[in-house]
């Protein structure tokens, strides 16, 4: 196995162009497990940990541009104020050791439907910046995933960054796991309330890809008492939960049944909407 370790971003893109079969390696929390379990034997590994700009985040044109190599631990520590949903999701990833190593870009690269970073990115309408020697493109995260562990990423492309609007209002993330920590999501849900009257959603681990719940978003946008900031009608929260559950297409697997996933999504959607609305009105 060849091990490529480019020192700069330009070198990394050149290396990927020259070796499209090289598997990018960031924190290694997915790739190394697959190698150790002998599930994968790539001809080459492309180590991205030396590229400095991947580890940086900054504000750019009103968006937060988070380098693909920023770890979950740093998202929690440095972005919790402006992206509380994403930070909360980062908090539920693995153990402290995994959060120190694992990166948002790696999460997207693996494109697992269970990736904890995905639902908050969906709920906030984030963009994924992909780069190759051919150029740069930005893809809405909702269009990034194409199937289980599949994305629009081309063989010669690398994930450069994620661009996320700073939270305009309350954000929530909640995740179901059978264990109280260090667990892969059985189902997860992210929510964003925008004070101007719209709602973003993201569903994890309950479909072939991370999903949005467009009908639930439209329903909440229409039914929430935005102007009055009045009390949330429990029936609205309940209906919102039903619509989120209906948007999912879960399966039975070793971690949970489809029926359980659907049920819990409904509950999480109802609860997180209730919390977010009371935060908005506080």
């Amino acid at each position: 196995m060849e091990f490529l370790s480019p020192p700069t971003w330009a070198d990394a893109l050149a290396a990927k162009a020259a070796r499209p079969d090289a598997v990018p390696l960031a924190g290694g929390t997915d790739v190394m497990v697959e190698l150790n379990f002998r599930r994968r034997a790539p001809a080459a590994l492309l180590d991205l940990t030396r590229v400095p700009e991947l580890r940086a985040w900054r504000e750019e044109d009103g968006l937060l541009r988070i380098g693909a190599g920023v770890s979950y631990a740093r998202i929690m520590a440095e972005l919790g104020g402006r992206l509380p949903g994403l930070a909360r999701a980062a908090r539920t990833v693995g153990s402290p050791q995994i959060r120190n190593r694992g990166t948002l870009g790696g999460n997207l690269g693996s494109a697992s439907p269970a990736g904890d970073g995905h639902p908050p990115l969906l709920a906030t309408g984030a963009l994924v910046e992909l780069a190759s020697t051919r150029g740069v493109r930005r893809v809405p995260v909702a269009e990034f995933f194409t199937g289980p562990k599949q994305s629009v990423l081309s063989d010669d492309e690398l994930i450069a960054a994620v661009l996320v609007p700073p939270a305009p209002g309350p954000q929530q993330f909640a995740k179901i796991g059978t264990r109280n920590a260090m667990v892969i999501a059985v189902a997860s849900f992210a929510l964003e309330l925008r004070p101007e009257g719209s709602v973003g959603t993201g569903i994890g681990s309950a479909g072939p890809t991370p999903l949005r719940a467009p009908e639930a978003e439209a329903f909440a946008a229409a039914e929430l008492p935005w102007a009055s900031r009045g009390r949330l009608d429990p029936a609205v929260a309940e209906r919102f939960g039903e619509l989120v559950a209906a948007a999912a297409s879960p399966i039975d697997d070793v971690r949970g049944t489809a029926a359980y996933r659907r049920r819990t999504l409904g509950v999480l959607a109802r609860r997180t909407l209730t919390w977010a609305w009371s935060e908005l009105c506080a």
Binding site: V33, N36, F37, R38, R88, R91, T92, Q172, F173, A174, K175, I176, G177, T178, R179, N180, A181, M182, V183, I184, V186, V254, R255, G256, T257, A259, Y260, R262, R263, T264, V267, L268, R271, W275
Partner: protein, 752 residues
């Protein structure tokens, strides 16, 4: 090999103290050498080819592609096993390497030695096996029937049936509760995977450094299969990363030795985590049918029960597990009429054998669930109904054995019952995943009490051997304790040194590495090592002391603080002076009182040497909408006879309770059609520190007059009753029936 370090502890660090573990610091700092860290000059690596099918006929095996890979030094199959081609703890029914047929997914077929572990793994994958896939026998209820296809052509699937008959078989009672319960397949999930290093010796024999539980029984099985006399197969215990029963059977021992003898090189084998799930036996999954009859006051009139254990493809210790399930299967209760049938069957599921609790765990989940049903049926508090039926000293077990020593069943229950209720939890169900702010959260409390035998039963010649040497080292007296007992993490090396200090009044005690150059210590299982190897060490120390004092030629002397003192405690001489240049050494083989077989028809007999009891009260918060559980607190009470090392006792109770909590909520090897679906720690979930709550401990020391220092085995009881206590608490919170463990969120929310 690094010898265990001598303890930096004074003479006072004897029985009843809690000196620091000699291996504790090394383990916490990551410096301890586990068996997977072994290394030798010229070493090559072993790998194993395993069956992907739970049941198939082996049509052909082509080793050519593996042998063609550069760096491969040997590829072996069953044809290369020079001695006995099968091994096993109770029946030699498991092939060293499969021939004719594979009987479970993961069964070893061929082994490879190569210069690099990656090469060895690739070579194993390159071996071409043609299988004729057969329908696996996977349903124990079907397998037990006479017309079922056989897992082993030459014998029926029913591996053992243990009946127990006490009192009248057809008695009736005014109150009857019945239930069917299921226990999933738990794994020992030790952290150090199977590993060892085999080194070929000049005499044609082999030395094996390995993580195991019982060096001598390993050695004897390996020698049989190698076709070597036992003295040419020498075992040394390497650093063991947990065992819990999962190392009682052989894994890579014979394989590594075969490869070492073939290649003439030291051979190291280390299983990966996934392979480890296929490399050792698991806890028996079980289905249990129970009927309890009682009078209106909740006093038991009869228990009728059937326990069906799935033994998987090979026998392992299944027959003994079935006997435990049967003899302990009504729990610590006095029941005049018992009809119990425990059966264990072969199937093409993963082989099952020893795991902490050993048959008592499955039964306890069922009988304690029944006691709760009985409490409800007669309108009694769950503790009250248990107390009314509590076993006492002098009562008869269903086997007719009289309960002796101590049986503080009522006292243990009252202790946990009277503990103050825990306050609000620091962490809600869902943990850090932000699933509730209190919505849907309901608290519940549940109780469980269990019974376990200590030591080996049914007439087994259960003994241990200790060699103790007292000599001057640097002018000061020092003790060397040498046994073959496996330190598996439980702290036996600490305890043996404490015993030596107490008996010989010497500060400096060294525990020699465990190996087969001293006699057998028996297994580090059945909660027996402190009792039996502790007993042997005590006896050997006494023999040394007697010889030392005999040198002074007068009666009434004893040892105190490295001195010989007279009856009045006045120093007579220092131990150093009495010793001079002449060491004193004694080797003692020590036995507990004998046990007896069970009558094969009635199940009557004094089968067990000692009983141990623990009670648990679990308090849980359940998010009833999401089915998520957070255990808030566990209170426990256990009689340990004598806490030889109080801190180690607490550790055993905490760890055992956690393992029982794991079975209640998380831990299950999921097997579908004979295939394991979750062989990883990603999907085989162990409790984390966020899942394990604070515990309140009451430790009783009611001496057993037959045991050294009055001690009672402590390792297993905490695992047994924590499971039903946690489940009872969830039932109390939710009202769900919950007849299966682990309880899944789906069972609580009705979405299974």
């Amino acid at each position: 090999m690094k010898a265990h370090l001598g303890l930096a502890a004074g003479v006072g660090a004897g029985v009843g103290a809690s000196p620091q573990r000699p291996d504790g610091r090394l383990k916490v700092t990551g410096e301890f050498a586990f068996s997977s860290d072994l290394w030798a000059e010229q070493m090559v690596w072993g790998a194993t080819l395993r069956s992907p099918h739970p049941r198939a006929r082996i049509v052909s095996v082509n080793l050519g592609p593996a042998l063609a890979i550069a760096g491969v030094r040997a590829v072996l199959t069953h044809e290369d096993v020079p001695g006995r081609k099968r091994y096993g703890l109770e029946h030699a029914d498991q092939p060293v390497l499969a021939f004719d047929e594979v009987r479970y997914q993961g069964e070893a077929i061929a082994i490879v030695a190569a210069d690099h572990p990656e090469t060895a793994a690739r070579a194993a994958e390159a071996i071409e096996v043609v299988y004729e896939v057969l329908d696996p026998v996977t349903d124990p209820e079907a397998a037990v029937l006479a017309d079922s296809p056989r897992v082993h052509a030459e014998r029926p699937n029913l591996l053992r049936h243990v009946p127990i008959r006490r009192g009248a078989p057809d008695v009736s009672a005014p109150v009857v509760v019945s239930g069917v319960y299921d226990v999933g397949m738990q794994d020992q999930a030790f952290l150090g995977p199977e590993s060892g290093l085999a080194v070929p010796a000049d005499d044609g024999g082999v030395d094996l450094y390995v993580a195991t539980q019982w060096l001598h029984v390993d050695r004897d099985q390996v020698a049989e299969s190698l076709g070597l006399p036992p003295e040419k197969v020498r075992f040394t215990l390497a650093g063991v990363g947990g065992a819990f029963g999962g190392r009682e059977d052989l894994s890579m021992q014979i394989h590594a030795c075969l490869l070492a003898l073939r290649t003439g090189r030291p051979v190291k084998m280390v299983y990966g985590r996934e392979e480890s799930f296929f490399g050792h036996v698991h806890r028996h999954p079980a289905r249990l049918w129970y009927e309890h009859g009682a009078d209106e006051d909740g006093r038991l009139v009869y228990v009728k029960a059937r326990i069906l254990l799935d033994g998987g493809a090979y026998a392992s210790s299944s027959p003994a597990v079935a006997a435990n399930a049967a003899t302990l299967g009504i729990g610590p209760y006095d029941v005049p009429n018992v009809t119990m049938d425990a059966e264990v069957v072969y199937s093409n599921n993963p082989p099952c054998g020893a795991m902490r609790g050993f048959g008592a765990v499955q039964a306890c989940f069922a009988y304690e669930s029944q006691m709760d049903r009985l409490a409800e049926a007669v309108g009694l508090d769950p503790v009250e109904v248990r107390v009314r039926n509590a076993l006492k000293v002098g009562d008869l077990m269903p086997t007719g054995q009289v309960v002796e020593g101590a049986a503080p069943v009522e006292q243990l229950l009252r202790l946990v019952q009277r503990r103050p209720a825990p306050g609000p939890a620091d962490l809600l169900p869902g943990g850090t995943a932000n699933t509730t702010r209190g919505e849907g959260v309901v608290r519940g409390v549940g109780y469980g009490i269990g019974i376990k035998n200590v030591g080996f039963s049914e007439g087994f010649d259960d003994y241990s051997t200790a060699r103790v040497r007292l000599e001057l080292v640097g002018g000061r007296p020092a003790v060397l304790v040498h046994t073959a007992a496996a330190e598996v993490g439980q702290g036996l090396v600490t305890v043996l040194a404490q015993i030596a200090r107490t008996e010989l009044a010497v500060a400096q005690v060294t525990i020699a590495p465990a190996d087969t150059s001293v006699g057998s210590a028996g297994s580090s299982s059945a909660s027996r090592q402190t009792y039996v190897t502790g007993g042997a060490t005590k006896a050997a120390c006494e023999a040394v002391r007697e010889r030392l004092l005999a040198r002074l030629g007068r009666p009434g002397l004893r040892l105190e603080d490295e001195q010989v003192v007279d009856d009045d405690g006045r120093p007579v001489a220092s131990i150093a002076d009495v010793l001079g240049g002449e060491a004193v050494e004694e080797t003692v083989e020590w036995r507990h009182k004998p046990t007896h077989p069970l009558d094969p028809v009635t199940g009557q007999g004094d089968a067990h040497v000692q009983y141990a009891f623990a009670a648990h009260r679990a308090t849980v918060d359940v998010d009833v909408e999401l089915g998520l559980v957070r255990v808030v607190e566990i209170a426990t009470a256990q009689d340990v006879g004598k806490a030889v090392n109080p801190r180690a006792v607490e550790g055993q109770i905490q760890g055992g309770t956690a393992q029982g909590l794991g079975l209640a909520l998380l831990e299950e090897i999921q097997v579908v059609d004979g295939r394991v679906r979750n062989p990883s720690f990603t999907d085989y979930l162990l409790p984390t520190i966020m899942d394990m709550p604070p515990m309140a401990l009451d430790i009783l020391e009611l001496a057993d007059p037959d045991a050294p220092y009055g001690l009672r085995g402590v390792g297993e009881p905490p695992t047994i009753s924590s499971t039903p206590a946690v489940v009872a608490a969830i039932r109390a919170a939710t009202g769900a029936a919950l007849t299966r463990v682990p309880v899944r969120p789906e069972h609580i929310t009705g979405t299974a």
